[in-house]
């Protein structure tokens, strides 16, 4: 029964997601929804790291590294598609480096370290002008070329960019689901729940934590690379902006930590409420929902929205039927 409900909900969601471009949305709305989907990806990537017990306040670092990496590679005449992958690898590397800090720091102090790390990269982007273009950033980033087998226009506000963000989110969700059911997911959960106990069972926590950082950083950086190829500029204060650290954190905790669909759902909901309902009427307060959502979660909803569902979603490693 439950399974059918989920499949039904999935189909409805898929239909809703496929419809907007077909029904002739205004490009601005398409752009908004594409961005919301990218935030969904970012929130899911953030949640992957949280699944391994590591709370990041610095995902802007990974997003921005991906954005700069992809922009530089693209400007260096790599195919934009490969450039995005290179940016992803740069983000994974950058995330792995700060993951090393988890050997010494935990919880709030690791979170502070990631916060500082994102500020460091923002500072580097500001100051290393020869490479990053300094505060003005880089312009003239080429658009994503149509694929031979998929002739779509992927620039901002087009159906192509919408489908691309959607496909990317679905791929990351599928990978996340796969990871939860694999050895990786088992190790991540063990490290998260009781690191010491896990290590008594032969699990060396550090490599798993670094791996979680690298994976999460990789997906976030891919999102960054996609983003710059849609907006076609990159600036330190744009891509290393604290919002790319705060928003995935808000969305994932509000949607439900460690759940598969919660973060992406909350990302879509919060972002669209903020941009569609608040931005047009009270623009200065359009970020209000994020701050309020965070406060509500911390004080009243320890499990996020997913905690409100009637019964907890089954853990991926349930014993029966496997």
């Amino acid at each position: 029964m439950r399974r059918l409900t989920w499949i039904g909900a999935g189909l409805v969601a898929a239909a809703l997601l496929l419809l907007p471009p077909l029904s002739g949305f205004h490009p601005y709305y398409l752009y908004l929804v594409s961005t919301a989907l990218l935030f969904g990806t970012l929130a899911t990537a953030w949640n992957l790291l949280a699944y391994a017990g590591q709370i990041s306040f610095g995902h802007a670092a990974f997003f921005g590294l991906g954005a700069y990496g992809a922009a530089l590679a693209s400007l260096g005449r790599f195919s934009p598609w490969w450039a995005i992958v290179l940016g992803g690898l740069l983000g994974a590397g950058g995330a792995g480096v700060i993951g090393l800090a988890s050997a010494r720091l935990q919880g709030a102090y690791l979170a502070l370290a990631t916060l500082a790390y994102a500020e460091i990269w923002r500072g580097i982007a500001h100051n290393w002008s020869e490479v990053s273009g300094g505060g003005a950033g880089l312009i003239g980033i080429p658009p994503l070329p149509p694929l031979p087998w998929l002739p779509l226009d992927f620039t901002r506000g087009r159906a192509g960019s919408y489908y691309l963000s959607l496909a990317f989110l679905l791929v990351v969700l599928a990978l996340f689901a796969g990871i939860l059911h694999s050895r990786l997911g088992l190790a991540f959960a063990a490290v998260r729940e009781e690191e010491e106990r896990a290590s008594l069972l032969g699990v060396h926590p550090l490599p798993w934590k670094i791996l979680a950082f690298a994976l999460s950083g990789f997906f976030s950086a891919l999102a960054g690379g996609l983003y710059v190829h849609m907006v076609r500029v990159v600036e330190p204060d744009l891509v290393f902006s604290r919002y790319f650290s705060i928003l995935p954190l808000v969305m994932a905790t509000f949607g439900g930590l460690h759940t598969l669909l919660g973060p992406a759902t909350a990302a879509l909901g919060l972002y669209l409420v903020s941009e569609l309902l608040l931005q047009p009427y009270v623009p200065v307060f359009h970020q209000l929902p994020y701050g309020l959502a965070l406060i509500v979660v911390v004080l009243y909803l320890p499990g996020g929205l997913a905690g409100l569902l009637p019964s907890p979603r089954p853990s991926p490693h349930r014993g029966e039927g496997r």
């Binding site: 306040f57 709030a108 102090y109 790390y117 500020e119 460091i120 309020l292 911390v298």
Partner: protein, 289 residues
């Protein structure tokens, strides 16, 4: 860099350090009593600065007179902060960080709404002159800020070490339950700590606004500075905070003198990361002394 300029830079950094000390004390007071990290600390200071600017541009009063006014203006927020912090789930360090990340966002939005993201400075003429001291020329504004900050720090030191209230606050921060068992009114101690800490933040904001341009997103850097100082000095150790604050002010001044102001934020973030890694026991580690 000539010797005089170096001395000049050191002196001016040390003066700035006195301000940092005041700011960090307000942060670590809340931390020691509640075990909560207030990421919105810097935003509160900026808010105090904007309020000070607002009063100043409206009244033309001397900025020093506006320090207590801005401090008082933040008192209602202190009660809100305490109400929120009382409800934090465990682990408090982490949940407070998440909560105040949200509060910081809200404060920035409010400031954006009220002051439209414009850069503001309390450019009072009474602060612009400079004073010769030996071979050094010290900016009068900085001297006044440092003196005001030191006065506040000194007053706080006396209050914490010499009064009943101070004993209650120190006992509460050492061990809440034990303090309550000894008949200390820990709730009252906590509330007054919040009130005092936010009043100090608001006042510090006015001082800050006479030195630096305000902008709504500028708070995070102050928060990071406060955390660095708290790591260096340990929680609740006033004299070490002063030493650390002056050191940090000097480091900042040297950075700016050598490589320009663009490097300031980067250096602050690097200092924070390095300090966290070097002192991996957590901030409360300093409390056992």
């Amino acid at each position: 860099m000539s010797l005089t300029t170096l001395a000049q830079t050191l002196a001016s950094g040390a003066l700035l350090g006195c301000f940092y000390t005041l700011m960090a004390l307000a942060f670590s007071m809340v931390l020691s009593v509640t075990r909560a990290l207030n990421l919105a600390h810097g935003d509160l200071i900026i808010l105090g600065g904007y309020l000070g600017y607002w009063f100043w541009s409206g009244s033309g009063l001397h900025p020093l007179l506006l320090v207590p006014v801005a401090g008082a203006a933040l008192l209602p927020l202190a009660l809100l902060w305490q109400w929120l912090f009382n409800r934090l789930p465990e682990p408090k360090e982490l949940s407070s960080l998440v909560l105040t990340f949200g509060l910081s966002l809200l404060l920035q939005n409010i400031m954006l709404a009220l002051w439209r993201g414009e850069y503001r400075l309390i450019a009072s003429e009474s602060l612009t002159g400079s004073i010769r001291l030996g071979g050094l020329r010290l900016n009068q504004g900085r001297l006044i800020v440092a003196a005001a900050a030191l006065a506040a720090v000194g007053g706080l030191y006396l209050a914490l070490t010499r009064t009943r209230w101070g004993r209650a606050v120190r006992a509460t921060s050492l061990d809440r339950e034990a303090a309550a068992l000894l008949g200390i009114n820990v709730d009252q101690a906590t509330r007054t700590t919040f009130l005092l800490a936010l009043a100090l933040s608001g006042g510090a904001g006015v001082l800050f606004a006479t030195l630096h341009y305000l902008y709504p997103a500028g708070g995070i850097e102050l928060t990071l500075l406060a955390i660095v100082l708290t790591i260096w000095a340990g929680v609740g150790r006033l004299r070490s905070v002063l030493v650390a604050g002056v050191l940090l002010g000097v480091i900042e001044a040297l950075t700016v003198a050598w490589s320009g102001p663009r490097w300031r934020e980067l250096v602050v973030a690097l200092l924070l990361l390095a300090s966290l890694l070097a002192r991996s026991g957590g901030l409360a580690g300093g409390r056992s002394h």
